[in-house]
């Protein structure tokens, strides 16, 4: 059974208040007030002097014993919210692989599930490693997540959130003690593949229901009663969305690790891993407890996804 064998994170020190971002983007004071008051957003992490490779490198450096296990890495997956994350012809993932001595690994991007591509990457890595496990049970996959807010589209999620910069690195193995992946569910909604205001409004309308349904599907598949889920590791979009999801699931909001929403922003596909680290630091996970990682996003369609993992 697929396990998350290690998680490293990097969050830059600089914070930018949402008012400053709003001015750059051209939002109205009323929009900012709504973000602060209702969505619970305050500031976002930004690293103006660092490129994508710097963010990813720092997350890998945070992995325990990376040098001892890196020869076992067979796959490197960059989970992306956006298809294009650097200007052509830069290739920071390939460059980082060369730098880290991972030339032997197959490196590729995983995307098209918007901000839930990080969860897809765990599923994909697990399947690849399972297929290889007879001849190489110790093989690892390295998932990288994190992007630069370098285009107008990657500054904010309209009416929802602001993107923050940072990164996560997650080692995945085909089997192990913890954290064991019990179930994955995703709902892909191709009907949201257009830019009309009506579609955007409809996406907002179904958002909490669809994300709650994806979580329910994963939790059911894992054979876990909902009230035995110890914790939820969310994507950091905003507080309103999670309050609504919790209401639909009958789960108290206190079970959702929302600490990083007001201080980091939505760190693309890295949120769940960053929140995993926060949960560990706060001592919120005990061995044997089950938790959910969940995320949703839109862009060329919408995706709502969840993983259930046993610590």
């Amino acid at each position: 059974m697929t396990v998350l064998a290690g998680v490293g994170v990097y969050v830059p020190e600089e914070r930018v208040p949402i008012e400053e971002l709003a001015e750059r983007i051209g939002l109205t004071p009323m929009q900012v007030k709504i973000f602060r008051r209702y969505h619970g957003l305050g500031e976002v992490a930004r690293a103006p002097k660092e490129g994508l490779i710097d963010l990813l490198r720092a997350a890998v450096a945070d992995l325990e014993d990376f040098d001892q296990v890196k020869h076992r890495i067979r796959y490197v997956l960059h989970a992306r919210s956006f298809s294009v994350v650097v200007p052509y012809p830069e290739n920071p993932v390939r460059e980082l692989c060369d730098e880290l001595g991972l030339e032997h690994a197959s490196a590729f991007a995983v995307g098209h599930h918007a901000c839930s591509s990080g969860l897809l990457a765990v599923e994909v890595a697990g399947r690849l490693l399972a297929a290889d496990s007879d001849d190489d049970p110790q093989a690892l996959a390295l998932i990288l997540a994190g992007e630069k807010a370098f285009t107008p589209q990657s500054q904010m999620v309209p009416d929802t959130s602001f993107f923050g910069e940072g990164a996560a690195a997650c080692l995945v193995q085909a089997a192990g003690e913890r954290d064991r992946l019990l179930a994955y569910a995703v709902d892909l909604r191709g009907e949201f593949d257009d830019d009309s205001p009506e579609t955007a409004a409809e996406y907002q309308n179904i958002y909490a229901d669809a994300l709650a349904d994806a979580i329910k599907a994963a939790v059911d598949r894992s054979g876990t009663p909902m009230d035995e889920i110890a914790l939820m590791l969310p994507h950091n979009v905003n507080l309103v969305a999670w309050r609504r999801v919790c209401r639909r699931l009958g789960v108290p909001t206190a079970k959702v690790v929302l600490d990083n929403v007001p201080t980091l922003g939505h760190v693309f596909c890295a949120d769940a891993f960053i929140n995993y680290r926060t949960a560990r630091q706060r001592g919120l996970l005990r061995p044997g407890e089950r938790y959910v990682m969940a995320a949703a996003g839109a862009g060329f369609g919408a995706a709502f996804a969840a993983l259930v993992v046993e610590h």
Partner: protein
């Protein structure tokens, strides 16, 4: 959520809130509106979005000098002028 708290709300206050919502709708939606009543559906008939809905709540706070708890605010409260007035009147942080 509002269903459980709504009966406790002061009818005068609730009426003031409903009136305040009707008065603000043209400003928030950016167009003249005819025949708005408590039964008017905000999203279906008037095309209110989640963002314009939140803007309406913020402006209502300013106009009526009230502070509204938004913890339990959800989509269904924006169904009609009346359902929103029920929620607001039952979820004030202070009078």
């Amino acid at each position: 959520m509002a269903d459980t708290a709504a009966p406790a709300a002061d009818p005068l206050l609730r009426g003031r809130v409903a009136g305040g919502i009707c008065a603000l709708l043209p400003e928030v939606l950016g167009r003249e509106l005819a025949d708005v009543s408590e039964a008017t559906t905000l999203m279906e008939a008037l095309g209110m979005t989640s963002t314009t809905g939140l803007e309406l709540i913020l402006r209502l706070e300013e106009n009526l000098e009230l502070e509204i708890s938004v913890e339990d605010l959800d989509r269904e409260h924006f169904e009609t002028v009346g359902s929103l007035a029920d929620y607001v009147a039952a979820n004030l942080l202070e009078d």
